[in-house]
């Protein structure tokens, strides 16, 4: 036993073997999602050529962005083994607050950014307090704040709606800065890249993963767990606030039930799951959620374009979600990815032999 270990030990530690780049890439969820999204897009376009028109591609990308930014934030909370149901009214409050000001006093979009972020940070921090210090399970805490924040959204609206935004806002929401690349895409992409780097390559991000993977072990490894958990909810709220601003710019209107109306909190959780993040914490990432938001938007639009009644949309979200969860469950059971399994079925590939011991 110890003799075999010693010889294997030299091999393992002296020449660390990493899986080849191709299989490492295929094992990840993100490239898979891009391929599937393109496939759906291609199929739908083949059936209905106008689906691939320039304006429509741009529209699809733009209309995915509010969801994408919410999903990126939701993913951070999912990584700490939490859930945030209140992102819908947070988005709504930010959308109507900034929208009304823009409607009344014609301010620039950028000048509203601090307000949107501040709303999100404040409301997200409150969620974090409930979860971290009051020790209320996140699903209950944020269900509670979902209702409270929804009430606040209605109070702010006071039976008005945002309908007449300044031209500069409308233009930003509808124009492309390159063919098929809408302005709205920029904040979504920037947020996703920034969060991906922060999560993967900063101390804070590593603490988020460690906390989600095993909170007790993280505490014992010297991580300030309360600060980490509360910051996750704060960041999620902040991004929901940002998404509110993006939403009002992109859609051009907002009202008392903006956000809740399309259950964006459930769509965001679905994006997290489809993108490879688990509800059990410590696993996944925001890039997958970003692509999942585009995937979901394209798939649902595709359903309509393909002539299927739009009432099937929510069933469609559910089916996609279940498929993603099934893939996850399969990978967890088998300890390998679907692509690896496919290749081993097709022959030629053997999974790395794990060491057998103790």
């Amino acid at each position: 036993m110890s003799a075999t270990e010693a010889s294997a030990g030299k091999l393992a530690v002296d020449e660390p073997r990493r899986a080849p780049l191709l299989s490492r890439t295929l094992r990840r969820r993100e490239p898979m999602l891009v391929v599937v999204t393109l496939a759906i897009f291609g199929l739908t376009s083949a059936a209905q050529p106008h689906f691939a028109l320039q304006g429509n591609i741009s529209f699809l990308l733009a209309s995915a962005m509010p969801l994408a930014v919410v999903a990126v934030g939701e993913t951070v909370v999912m990584l700490v083994r939490g859930i945030d149901l209140s992102v819908a009214p947070v988005l709504g409050i930010a959308a109507v607050s900034t929208g009304f000001i823009a409607q009344d006093s014609h301010v620039s979009v950028l000048s509203m950014l601090p307000l949107a972020l501040a709303i999100g940070i404040g409301l997200g921090f409150v969620n974090g307090l409930f979860v971290t210090y009051a020790r209320i399970p996140p699903i209950i805490a944020t269900l509670g704040t979902f209702t409270v924040y929804g009430g606040i959204e209605q109070l702010i609206c006071n039976s008005r709606t945002v309908v007449t935004l300044p031209t500069s806002w409308i233009n930003l929401g509808t124009h492309d800065f390159l063919p098929d690349v809408p302005y709205i895409l920029v904040p979504g992409v920037l947020v996703t890249i920034a969060m991906a780097l922060i999560l993967w390559r900063t101390r804070w991000g590593r603490s988020i993963y460690a906390f989600g993977a095993n909170a007790e072990a993280a505490f014992r490894a010297g991580i300030r767990v309360k600060a980490i958990e509360i910051s996750a909810y704060t960041v999620c709220g902040m991004l929901a606030g940002l998404a509110g601003l993006i939403y009002v710019v992109q859609v051009g209107s907002a009202g008392y039930n903006t956000g809740s109306e399309i259950s964006i909190q459930l769509q965001a959780i679905a994006c997290g799951l489809i993108g490879g993040t688990t509800l059990t914490g410590g696993k996944g990432g925001v890039v997958g959620s970003f692509f999942a938001a585009i995937f979901l938007t394209v798939a649902l639009e595709g359903v309509i374009v393909a002539g299927i009644a739009y009432q099937w949309q929510s069933a469609g979200v559910g089916v996609l979600l279940l498929v993603a969860i099934l893939i996850d469950a399969y990978q967890n059971r088998q300890g390998r990815s679907v692509s690896e399994a496919l290749r081993s079925v097709l022959g030629g590939h053997k999974p790395v032999q794990q060491e057998a011991s103790s």
Partner: protein, 527 residues
């Protein structure tokens, strides 16, 4: 048919003497069972035969495969290969439910009762009798028949009390009663005595002997070798997932023979190191440390530079609680001095910053991130000091740091990119050592550092402890394995019921001496 008649019949059916005796005495064989979890073999071609009317004990170190064997035989884990044969009949696709149907019941290590339900419901769970209407529950029948089962196991409790109100010992007896209520005559006890006091254990042993007289087939797991030798009719020893020895006559077997079979010989040949460290400076000092909940009190000791200081004691004696208080995980009164300076506002993060580290005893819950890559498990406590490029961590540099640390503690892994759970217990522990050595400790507290690791890893871990103590780290070692305290420590303190009851140094550290001290007796007075 009247309701009353129906109910009487149901009660009679439940309470009748149609208990286990009506079954033929059961000879239960497990043949060449192999079982692996996530790539690590828990059982490799292991065979055990349990005869009716015997108490057959499985012994072995943690992780040897004892529990897995009984869980396979009780249908909890399906085996990868091998056969289960009950009185000549092959049992295929065994599940806990079908196992009970064959009369096989496992009393688990931690009682698995439904704590919010009554003792009565727990007793009959799965076979709750139906009442006058097909969907109702016949409470009267349950109540009238329960007494017989409680009596057989020596339980005197209110059948309507929720199980949460029962002591651990009572919960275990209730588990046994459940086995009888389900008409089982093959009963496995998976380490039942570890949470029990000596007197409670005696009650359980008395029950086991009575069941043996009734020709039951009984398997037992325990780490307490004295009780194993006293109660067993036969002993099977497992080591590293294999059956390595049988003892058919425990009365003629010595404690030493059993231990040698369990651990192999590698450890026995290690020699104690003779070092005189009485002049070295104290780096960690505890003065009158006490826990608010009374888990420990008046704990005062110091650990010197380069010293290996053992803390001996029984499970629950307060050793872990003391260590966690020093590390900053729980509140305590009293003073801690680190390198001569008072260390008051303790927390894991500030402890690590000041060079005090603590390797927890429960590796699975408190140490590893099971689904996370080995690299990141190793660097987890070192992230603030990892090389950076600008504001961002440098992934390749991190891998180099982790590889260097892994080489130092001889981690064996297919690659450091695999999740931690793919490694064996021994290699996970080596990786945990790599994590904590990265923090460059001045004081290292190791809590049960060799629990659940194989013999090879044990030897490596002893080597690591030798090396770092030679380099000047003060090591505080908590262990329930007295042998390793004898081998490794320069000085040993014994803790009994939350207090230090003795101290031995150098050649005074012997198995006999420690064995007496941990149960509160035979201690040399401390000055």
């Amino acid at each position: 048919m009247s309701v009353i008649v129906k109910r009487a019949r149901a009660a009679a059916a439940l309470a009748s003497d149609r208990t286990a005796e009506e079954y033929a005495p059961a000879r239960y064989e497990a043949r060449t069972i192999t079982k692996s979890f996530g790539g690590a073999n828990a059982l490799t071609g292991a065979s055990v035969t349990i005869e009716p009317g015997e108490i057959h004990t499985l012994v072995g170190e943690n992780g040897a495969g004892k529990s897995t064997m009984l869980k396979v035989m009780a249908g909890i884990h399906p085996q990868d290969s091998g056969d289960l044969v009950l009185n000549g009949t092959h049992l295929r696709g065994l599940t806990p439910r079908t196992a009970i149907g064959h009369g096989i019941y496992l009393v688990p290590q931690e009682p698995s009762l439904m704590l919010t339900l009554s003792a009565l419901e727990n007793l009959f769970v799965g076979i709750i009798p139906r009442g006058s209407m097909a969907f109702s529950v016949d409470w009267k029948a349950m109540e009238s028949s329960a007494g017989a089962y409680f009596q057989q196991v020596g339980l005197h409790i209110d059948p309507w009390a929720p199980a949460s109100q029962l002591s651990i010992a009572e919960q275990q007896l209730l588990e046994c009663a459940r086995a009888l209520a389900h008409r089982c005559n093959v009963i496995f006890f998976d380490e039942p005595t570890s949470p029990l006091t000596a007197r409670e254990a005696d009650v359980l042993f008395e029950l086991m002997r009575r069941l043996r007289e009734r020709n039951f087939t009984i398997a037992f797991i325990s780490h307490r070798l004295e009780e194993v030798l006293a109660i067993s009719d036969r002993i099977t020893v497992l080591r590293d997932s294999r059956v390595v020895a049988h003892f058919d006559n425990p009365k003629q077997t010595s404690h030493r023979q059993l231990v040698e079979a369990m651990v192999g010989h590698e450890i026995a040949v290690r020699q104690r190191r003779q070092r005189d460290l009485s002049g070295a400076e104290a780096v960690l000092e505890l003065k009158d440390l006490g826990a608010p909940d009374g888990a420990f009190a008046d704990i005062s000791f110091m650990a010197r530079r380069g010293e290996v200081l053992g803390l001996a004691g029984l499970v629950g004696s307060g050793r872990t609680e003391t260590a966690e208080s020093v590390f900053g995980m729980r509140r305590a009164s009293g003073t801690v001095l680190l390198a001569g300076k008072p260390y008051a506002h303790r927390s894991p993060s500030s402890s690590i910053e000041s060079g005090l580290i603590y390797l927890p005893e429960d590796r699975g819950h408190n140490g590893v991130f099971a689904n996370v890559e080995v690299v990141r498990n190793i660097t987890a406590a070192f992230v603030p000091h990892l090389p950076k490029r600008g504001q961002l961590l440098h992934p390749r540099a991190e891998v180099e740091v982790a590889e260097k640390a892994a080489r130092r503690t001889r981690v064996v892994a297919p690659s450091l990119d695999v999740p931690m759970k793919a490694l064996s217990g021994g290699n996970q522990q080596r990786a945990m050592f790599a994590r904590w050595l990265l923090a460059e400790p001045k004081v290292a507290i190791f809590d049960e550092p060799t629990r659940g690791v194989d013999v090879g890893a044990k030897v490596d871990i002893y080597g690591i402890i030798d090396t770092i103590s030679d380099s000047g780290v003060a090591v505080v070692m908590i262990s329930s394995e007295l042998e390793e305290l004898v081998l490794l420590c320069d000085r040993v303190l014994a803790i009994y019921e939350g207090r230090i009851v003795g101290e031995v140094t150098g050649d005074e550290i012997t198995l006999e001496r420690l064995g007496a001290m941990v149960v509160g007796g035979g201690a040399s007075e401390r000055d």
